[in-house]
């Protein structure tokens, strides 16, 4: 049985006025059905571009090389119309800022229904509405039957992200990509959303790719981790191995630099030397 997602030698190039720029360079990883993968990196690492490349949402100024296979089908070889049918249906994505990611002019119910109806034929308005309400209930939005007619600005940040998750899950995708889903949220809300993602995975068996700059968040959710830097995967390993025995100097330096909440001062002394050793920019 092939893996759910196989990324092979993925390279994403932007044409800039200073010449072509590879924001992702030769990245390869696999994701099995129902598994969870974390992609960590700092800004400019290419982690977000990777997710856009998988979904086929790269801007027109970018070009893509390599292979991205969903359940054995190479997405890069398909015409846009076929990829569009998979997008939002077999693979779904949620983004960082739920406020700007939802259209303020339409109710959340309408936006969830729209996601569902885009991929199912012969769905009546009433059926779609029922699906939307059920999706909202699944993500624990109270009073869903009434709130389905509310607008995004009437929800708090955490609730909006739940709406995004509900929207993504309405079509029961095989793969959910979450790009910094909790970065814009308060820490208590972040914990709730992460719990929700875990719960969803348990109940539906959806595979998850979690992209984050926050190593601690990734360590709580991901079974496997890819560490990216400047477009390149510097280390890949199951979470336990990566966090307890990092091999690459950059991974080690990154883990050293993470401030610990349970820790005393003194650890950060290691940072300066190790980062300089790999030529990190201050």
């Amino acid at each position: 049985m092939s893996a759910l997602l196989e990324v092979e030698d993925l390279t994403v190039t932007f044409s800039t006025k200073n010449g072509p720029l590879d924001v992702v360079d030769g990245l390869s990883f696999t994701l099995e059905q129902g598994a969870s993968l974390g992609i960590v990196g700092e800004s400019g690492s290419g982690k977000s571009m990777t997710s856009l490349a998988v979904m086929g949402l790269l801007p027109p100024t970018a070009s893509l090389r390599g292979r991205v296979a969903l359940d054995g089908t190479d997405l890069t070889a398909l015409p846009e119309s076929k990829v569009r049918r998979l997008r939002g249906d077999r693979m779904a994505m949620i983004f960082q800022d739920p406020l700007s990611s939802l259209n303020p002019y339409y109710t959340v119910g309408m936006q969830i229904e729209e996601a569902y109806r885009a991929h199912r034929t012969g769905v009546t308005r009433r059926q779609a509405r029922k699906v939307a309400i059920e999706a909202m209930e699944r993500v624990h939005i109270a009073d869903a039957a009434r709130r389905v007619d509310h607008y995004p600005h009437q929800f708090s940040g955490g609730m909006r992200q739940r709406v995004m998750i509900a929207m993504a899950l309405s079509t029961e995708p095989d793969l959910l990509i979450a790009d910094e889903p909790t970065t814009a949220l308060d820490v208590t809300v972040q914990a709730q959303i992460l719990d929700l993602l875990q719960e969803v995975r348990r109940e539906t068996g959806t595979a998850l790719i979690l992209i984050s700059h926050d190593l601690a968040v990734v360590s709580e959710i991901a079974e496997d981790v890819v560490v990216m830097r400047h477009g390149v995967s510097v280390e890949q390993a199951p979470a336990e191995r990566l966090f307890s025995d990092p091999r690459h100097p950059y991974t080690r330096a990154l883990l050293d630099a993470v401030p610990r909440i349970d820790d005393e001062i003194g650890e950060l002394r290691l940072v300066d030397r190790s980062i300089d050793a790999v030529g990190g920019k201050p």
């Binding site: 979904m55 949402l57 569009r84 049918r85 998979l86 997008r87 939002g88 249906d89 779904a92 994505m93 983004f95 800022d97 700007s100 990611s101 939802l102 259209n103 303020p104 002019y105 339409y106 729209e114 996601a115 885009a118 991929h119 509310h150 607008y151 600005h153 009437q154 929800f155 708090s156 995004m164 929207m167």
Partner: protein, 332 residues
Amino acid sequence: MVRFLATRLAGMVGVLFLVVLFTYAIFFALSPDPAVQICGKNCTPELIDQIRTNLGLDRPFYEQFLGFLSGLFVGSTYGTGANAIDCAAPCLGYSFQTGQPVLEMFEQRFGVSATLAVGAAVLWLLMGVTGGLVAAIKRGTWFDRAATGAALGGVSIPNYVLALVLQYVLVVKLGWLPFPQAVPFGDDPGQWFLNFVMPWLVLAFTYASMYQRLTRANVVDTLDENFVRTARAKGLAPGLVWRRHALRPALTPVVTLFGMDFAGLLGGAIIIETVFGLNGVGKMAADSITKNDQPVIMGVTLVAAFLVIVGNVIVDIVYTTIDPRVRIGARA
């Protein structure tokens, strides 16, 4: 919501009052003595004084102004006795040159201006908004460049030049349209309609250009919004993404602009009407300026200001209904 409306309406009344006061004061200070005008050729100082008293022109400013104000609500009477002239409410003044109350002159001509405004509005909305939308979607392509170029032309070319050129081409050279003739609707609807075709086109072209540019810019901005990215991520068909997610938010500023433009246009398109010989409010304004018919000029000024102010308020109210963030408060 009620509070909002009340505030806006109160503000509107306040602004209108100031406009009336300001306009009246300007005309009061600057206009030549109407008594002299009315008197005509064989004038004597006694006659002028008599007329002045008759019309109440010897009263102080504030009295005259209050008289004018009350005339707006209840009508007023010019002169006394057998020669008294009745001016029904709202009395915008009386034109001694044409021998008609200004309001009556308006009523006769408003239909033409309104027809011109409505027809042009329909055309320019269709052309401008769709043109802008398509140009935004296909930005950088030949269509976009052509549309932008045409829009630039429309904004730059003075509309009377365009009117004359169009007339020359369509009527003289190609003979597609007959020469414009003033014909009331009842007599010959076909000719009446044809009379408006060119003015509509000229007016629409000028406005469409602005709307095309505005729509294009707004849609381009909206296409970069995160919620459009979400719509694409959901796998929606491109047409749906553009129409439902990109266009709708982009239209809000267009709607507000339209309200203002349309209201202003109802007050008469001076140049277009004059060039095409349409007997609308705009032409009346142009004529009254050349003939120095003060009451009419002032009446036109007041009505135009009134329309713009009211249009402004309506636009504000409409805006609150189309943007849910304004219509419904913050979190429930």
